[in-house]
Symmetry: C2
Subunit: 343 residues, 2 copies
């Protein structure tokens, strides 16, 4: 008998609510016969916050933790001051659940039009640190609102936190083209950058087959446009990872095709899978959003639980769908159904 996995579902805001049901459907269909899923829905996000002020109540967070994995849609709403939901819900989960690997593959699918004239064969993965750096929330302001205001943001980086994500990147590179590119800004952020580089050099010694190089974040944004096929595994910190994965999403034809996993690689807490796109309030509720990224995040969830064949089923269906129909205008439900029909 197939084992049953408990999945926490947090559709969140805007188009998150429209694409997440398709991720669930893809999950079930792909794993038919090998795994069953039991869903626990969490009403978290803008609507809930506006209704009763709750962002992520402790009791609900404990229930989320008791699941085997999390499917998340998107978080963010223009009616709510920037940062409240992002830091109180999305980042709080990433931090509290110690999801230290934020895994973001970028692939240019056949049938997708890249904005680049000569995109080449794009297929890399960004390993973004998920629990440190400028995302710690360590900062403050004095004399707020006066001409003498000073606002700070502190990037905290630990050898412990960096080493575990560096190891993950090198291990991943062994399964790929065996090349790791560290991205940082070590000519300016000399303390953090130097530590990242030293730890990469040390871990690299254990992986003699994996080559590695270094690029400044600014140079990286150039290569992502001028020569994106040069990359295999990009390893970087929380903020730089945020920035380049959006640019990477653009060069592979839009963030509508980019999924991500917030992974607790020690399996102490559940990992969380989400499209990298946001809640897109401008098209929310119109059955317009592309559910492909959400469906691909279900494939990442399956891989994470060890169901590689089921994940491949999703990948194949998505690839075939995009190749044949990628350039046609379809509704959310139509794309979702088309992909499901191919599985």
């Amino acid at each position: 008998m197939a084992k049953t996995y408990k999945i926490a579902v947090i559709p969140g805001d805007g188009i998150g609510k429209e694409v997440t049901p398709w991720a669930q459907k893809a999950l079930e269909k792909a794993a038919e016969g090998v795994a069953d899923f039991e869903y626990e829905h969490f009403d978290l996000g803008a609507e809930r916050y506006l209704r009763d002020g709750a962002i992520l109540p402790e009791e609900e967070e404990e229930r989320i933790k008791a699941n085997d994995a999390i499917l998340l849609g998107a978080v963010g709403d223009p009616r709510i001051k920037a940062g409240i939901l992002e830091r109180g819900l999305l980042l709080k989960l990433r931090f509290d659940l110690d999801q230290y690997v934020n895994l973001r593959p970028s692939k240019l699918y056949k049938g997708v039009t890249s904005p680049l004239a000569n995109p080449g064969d794009i297929d890399f993965v960004v390993v973004r640190e998920g629990t440190e750096g400028l995302y710690c929330g360590a900062g403050g302001a004095v004399r707020r609102g006066t001409p003498n205001e000073v606002a700070t943001e502190v990037s905290i980086n630990t050898a412990y936190g960096v080493e575990r994500v560096v190891r993950y990147a090198f291990k991943l590179a062994m399964k790929r083209k065996k090349h790791v590119t560290l991205v940082h800004k070590k000519n300016v952020l000399v303390n953090a950058g130097d530590m990242w580089q030293r730890i990469v050099n040390k871990v690299a010694e254990e992986y003699p087959e994996v080559s590695h190089d270094y690029l400044h974040i600014d140079a990286t944004t150039i290569f992502l446009v001028s020569d994106p096929s040069r990359f295999d595994v990009i390893l970087t910190d929380n903020l730089f990872g945020d920035i380049i994965t959006d640019e990477a999403g653009a060069v592979v034809g839009g963030v509508g095709y980019s999924a991500s996993g917030c992974i607790n690689a020690s399996d102490e807490y559940p990992s969380m899978f989400e499209p990298i796109h946001g809640s897109a309030p401008d098209i929310a509720g119109q059955n317009k959003a592309n559910p492909t990224a959400a469906i691909l995040s279900a494939a990442m969830l399956l891989e994470h639980l060890g169901f590689d064949d089921a994940a491949k089923r999703i990948h194949k269906a998505v690839e075939a769908d995009i190749e044949e129909l990628g350039s046609t205008v379809r509704s959310t439900d139509q794309v979702g159904q088309d992909i499901l029909n191919r599985m």
Copy 2:
């Protein structure tokens, strides 16, 4: 009689030494009859550092300060640990000379091939704050080299520092298409982001003709690829400005066409003009580097000193050169001479 201006010249490292002489020649030719220049050369950069350990001796910095403007080539050398020259020379000048506006225009010239399939009409300028943020050098490390190392980087932002650059951006927008886009990451960096947004809102009230909007840095990297012609004036902090101007350089066909001004808009100290490209050690000494960005930085210097017509002479010659010969392979000296011949 034409007034004589004193120009400090710091060719620096690598291709900086090859392109800077062309910036000087363009300066002279463009300003013939309206301004004369007297140059003071400074031997600063990698060679000097390796020779006698000096990076920016106080006495030399004082002499630099006594000039009317500075022409800089590029700083950085692979033989020297990242950060030493960048922070000790380039950033030290930007900070000590209070060059709080780092002005970086991006324009797609006719005749240049953008890596984008449909670049559209790209013509915007990034106003990057130059004396604050993560570039302050406020950070450190404890237990360096041990498994318990903690490295921090602190972004310091002041209302004083932000307001002056915000004002510059709105004033500049009045001379352009009257639109300012604030770029930050206020959903995560809530202290600094909130301060930037409040100050933008306040200053905007004094410029009712200028519209303004906000974009997260990650979303900005998408639009720079998918719709770069939407921008007019981009206003952002030191690090985000560093990142997006390189990406912008890529979409307009390479950083070989991008100049920048590190401007002390209060004229208390000289402003500094430099190409945005680096020292490019891989092609240094081969007469291969494109001097166009350096020549365009001479045009920015002329504009700064009030010689708009002379600056236009450079712009026209560069535009004509690129339109006719932009796609041919030429040496540094040939491009420089071709542009000069057109002036």
